[in-house]
């Protein structure tokens, strides 16, 4: 059995809640399949108080092997780098993280906050919060750029606000089967398996996107990129094809824009949500998967070719079945 220790720093608990939503396999089945035993988790375990101290001490003293260390939430370093503003068992949480990470076989940052700092580390950052090995896009974080776990890997980041439960469980699968190697991680130390495609891929509004047939407001069926601030074409994540909650939904299927929550710069500063900012007529943030000049050219062309059906439906809350048999093939 592999021992898993799960701790929460500056977190909302959302990644744990997301993990409970896991399916195919569900969390309990996954633990059995992967041979993982939860040594302690703040909301799933019975032990509390001094017993938790005992569990952590056993790992630090080498009495038990810490095979999997999962951290959810950002890590505070205030005041003056001490992290005393957030203590866990009367000791700065940051110190616990450093000590435990030094004995962990694998260290995983679950969610955007643990990976890169996320919301607590944004704006004025009142707690001097940071991620495990990144501070937004910069290397460093609480463990420093050079940290490697006993298995020789940096912290494996599983960002997302929250992280998709599959990403957590499948990363555990990669790790427990010994298949995770450095070359399977991308520039942000995320498993390429989940973060290579874009949230845009799998979007049900893609036909509207292709013809630049856009929703002008929420509640409509059109593409959310042109006016409503969707960052799906700039968000590295497979969530829109993987889907959430029993594969029933996603952000864009729920009718609201992707806000690129898996990105290192989440939450973006000095930019607006729900509104596409433009420079001239051109969106400030352009798709990652098409060269810029081509995008602009193709967008202009496709707008001229938009079928009537898409024009009507893009601003309609429900499909308008206007296309009768005799209209097929005509303009």
């Amino acid at each position: 059995m592999k021992n898993l220790l799960y701790l929460q720093g500056l977190s909302c608990g959302g990644d744990t809640i997301s993990l409970l939503n896991a399916e195919e396999p569900d969390l309990l089945t996954a633990l059995k399949m992967l041979g993982i035993s939860i040594a302690w988790h703040p909301s799933l375990s019975s032990e509390e108080g001094d017993d938790v101290l005992g569990i952590c001490s056993d790992f630090l003293e080498g009495k038990k092997s810490l095979d999997l260390l999962l951290i959810e939430g950002a890590v505070s370093t205030a005041p003056m780098g001490t992290g005393r503003i957030h203590c866990f068992m009367e000791r700065p949480f940051a110190e616990w993280v450093r000590d435990l990470a030094s004995v962990a076989e694998y260290t995983l940052a679950v969610g955007t906050c643990a990976a890169t700092g996320g919301i607590p580390a944004s704006g004025t950052n009142p707690t001097k919060a940071t991620g495990m090995q990144f501070h937004h896009g910069k290397n460093g974080g609480v463990l420093g750029e050079d940290y490697r776990s006993r298995a020789g890997l940096p912290v494996t980041n599983i960002p997302g606000c929250p992280a998709h439960p599959d990403w957590i469980i499948e990363t555990l699968h990669l790790v427990t089967s010994g298949k995770l190697t450095a070359d399977l991680l991308d520039y942000a130390n995320r498993p390429r398996l989940f973060y290579t495609g874009l949230a845009h891929h799998g979007c049900t509004r893609n036909e509207f996107y292709e013809f630049k047939s856009s929703a002008t407001d929420f509640g409509q069926m059109g593409c959310l990129f042109e006016f409503l601030g969707c960052r799906g074409t700039q968000c590295e994540s497979d969530c829109n094809s993987r889907l959430w909650l029993g594969r029933t939904g996603s952000c864009t299927r729920g009718g609201y824009p992707c806000i690129a929550c898996t990105s290192q710069d989440f939450p973006p500063q000095n930019s607006r949500f729900f509104t596409t900012e433009t420079i001239g007529n051109i969106p400030k943030y352009l798709p990652f998967d098409v060269p810029k000049a081509w995008y602009i050219g193709i967008a202009g062309l496709s707008k001229m070719a938009t079928p009537e059906r898409l024009k009507v439906n893009s601003v309609s809350p429900h499909p308008v079945y206007a296309q009768r048999k005799e209209e097929r093939g005509r303009k």
Binding site: S11, F88, D217
Partner: protein
């Protein structure tokens, strides 16, 4: 001889909670509840665009994320030019919000509260083996079924709000997805199958039959036989374990009201219960004290609209990152029990007048409310119009102030927003667990949980499970409390 016990970390609550108690002669004499994790959302939000509240505030809490979305959206609506929300959009919001609250109640019972009933103190109870079989953490028959089925239930959220936790679908004028007849039918189906699970595992009887019970006598006769389902088992064990009168609260309740209907009325009314009678909620009566919190401010209690508190992690005498909200200067309790008493639910009113606000009545009210919500959701689904646009645009004013209040699973939740020149000047959040688990206020009065812990009898000082019961009966959510 007195003995001091610190439980840190407290498990099976949301977030970081530290409890210090002092026991003398088998009774808790003093109790201090501390929230230990601070992120500074309100400071981070300053100078942001007003609509950013919809992105940031749900991320205060991963378990009542939709409640924050609802409060944020209604605060934003309150600083918008006049608009009429979409009626179907409103019911879609209600269904999502009720899904979150009902699921939270049920999950809290099985994953957080029930494991304490397996404590060694209860080894000799006749039902002990049944308790272990049903409630063992991550293994018990009921626990496994609930963990499995809660996910199917949450698919309602997938269909309406896309993903959870942390959706942006909840807007002042409705929701961002206009549901068609297929989605509506699927939502109905998911509700029906979750309801039948609840009937089987929790109630042991049809929902309708359960909801007809209005008196303690009805309850006793329904749950008297052996082999009762989980709610009946809980009632029986609660009696034998002495939970009926354990952990008495401050006796005053507050509700923000929740689930607006298209005629403007609320399914859960707002109100204040002073211990004897019901009064209207006066939002201006809410203040926050920071005397024992890690904050400094020009003066003591302040209105949420112009909170000027600054974090100070080493403030002398302070022991919690939670502030102390008070209603007209008084300590109040919030949550399902508060709501059901204020709503005038006959069964809860009767149980409350018999036992008061205790471990039993808090836990029972939570499960009772979950069942009622499942029923009510069914009637809201019927009001969803597959032809309507579920979203109505609102325009946020450049300058203004407003608040949004609602009931999260754990109770009164409020967001206070003031906007100046198109940017957030001040954003203040008061959460349910801040009401329930606050530290002492500027008059030195302990918070509701602290009061409930005091005078709690502890049978075995080496195994103070009674303290766990009292704490978890409040279903504390510390990630919300300190944000």
């Amino acid at each position: 001889m007195s003995r001091k016990i610190t439980v840190n970390p407290m498990s099976r609550v949301e977030g970081d909670l530290k409890i210090k108690i002092e026991i003398a002669d088998g009774v808790v004499k003093d109790a201090m509840a501390s929230g230990v994790m601070f992120r500074g959302f309100e400071k981070i939000l300053k100078n942001h665009f007003p609509e950013d509240g919809l992105v940031y505030t749900p991320r205060i809490c991963g378990i009542c994320s939709i409640s924050h979305s609802i409060a944020a959206a209604s605060a934003l609506g309150a600083v918008s030019a006049e608009f009429t929300p979409s009626a179907s959009g409103q019911y879609a919001k209600n269904i999502s919000h009720a899904t979150e609250n009902a699921m939270s109640h049920i999950t809290q019972f099985y994953l957080y509260f029930a494991p304490d009933l397996l404590n060694r103190k209860y080894k000799d109870l006749a039902d002990y083996r049944v308790l272990v079989r049903r409630f063992a953490p991550l293994q018990g028959e009921s626990v496994v079924r609930i963990m499995e089925e809660r996910k199917r239930f949450l698919e309602i959220l997938g269909l309406i709000v896309g993903k959870w936790p942390h959706t942006l679908a909840i807007q002042p004028g409705g929701v961002t997805r206009s549901l068609g007849s297929s989605e509506i039918f699927r939502i109905k189906g998911i509700l029906a199958s979750f309801t039948s699970l609840v009937e089987k595992v929790l109630l042991g009887m049809p929902l309708r039959e359960y909801l007809e019970m209005e008196t303690r006598a009805d309850l006793e006769s329904a749950f008297s036989g052996d082999g009762a389902a989980d709610l009946g088992l809980f009632c029986r064990v609660a009696g034998e374990a002495g939970l009926m009168r354990m952990g008495s609260g401050p006796g005053r309740f507050l509700s923000a009201g929740a689930f607006p209907r298209s005629d403007g009325s609320l399914y859960i009314p707002s109100g204040y219960w002073d211990g004897e009678r019901l009064a209207e909620l006066e939002v201006e009566g809410i203040t926050e004290s920071i005397r024992y919190s890690f904050f400094t401010a020009p003066e003591g209690s302040s209105s949420p609209f112009d909170d000027a508190s600054e974090p100070r992690w080493d403030k002398p005498g302070a022991y919690s990152w939670a502030k102390s909200p008070r209603y007209k200067g008084l300590v109040v309790e919030v949550g399902a029990l508060a709501r059901q008493v204020i709503s005038g639910d006959p069964l809860i009113r009767e149980l409350h007048s018999e036992y008061g606000s205790t471990v039993f009545t808090r836990v029972f009210a939570r499960l009772h409310e979950a069942v009622k919500l499942l029923h009510e959701m069914g009637s809201w689904i019927e009001l969803l119009d597959p032809e309507e646009n579920y979203y109505k645009k609102n325009v946020v004013r450049e300058n203004g102030a407003g608040f949004g209040i609602t009931e999260a699973a754990r109770g009164f939740l409020g967001h206070w927003l003031s906007v100046e020149n198109g940017r957030i000047r001040n954003y203040q959040v008061i959460t349910p667990t801040a009401w329930n688990c606050s530290p002492r206020d500027d008059k030195g009065r302990p918070g509701a949980l602290e009061q409930s812990l005091m005078e709690t009898a502890v049978e075995d000082e080496d195994n103070p499970v009674e303290v766990d019961h009292v704490i978890r009966s409040y279903d504390p959510c510390l990630v919300c409390t300190v944000h």
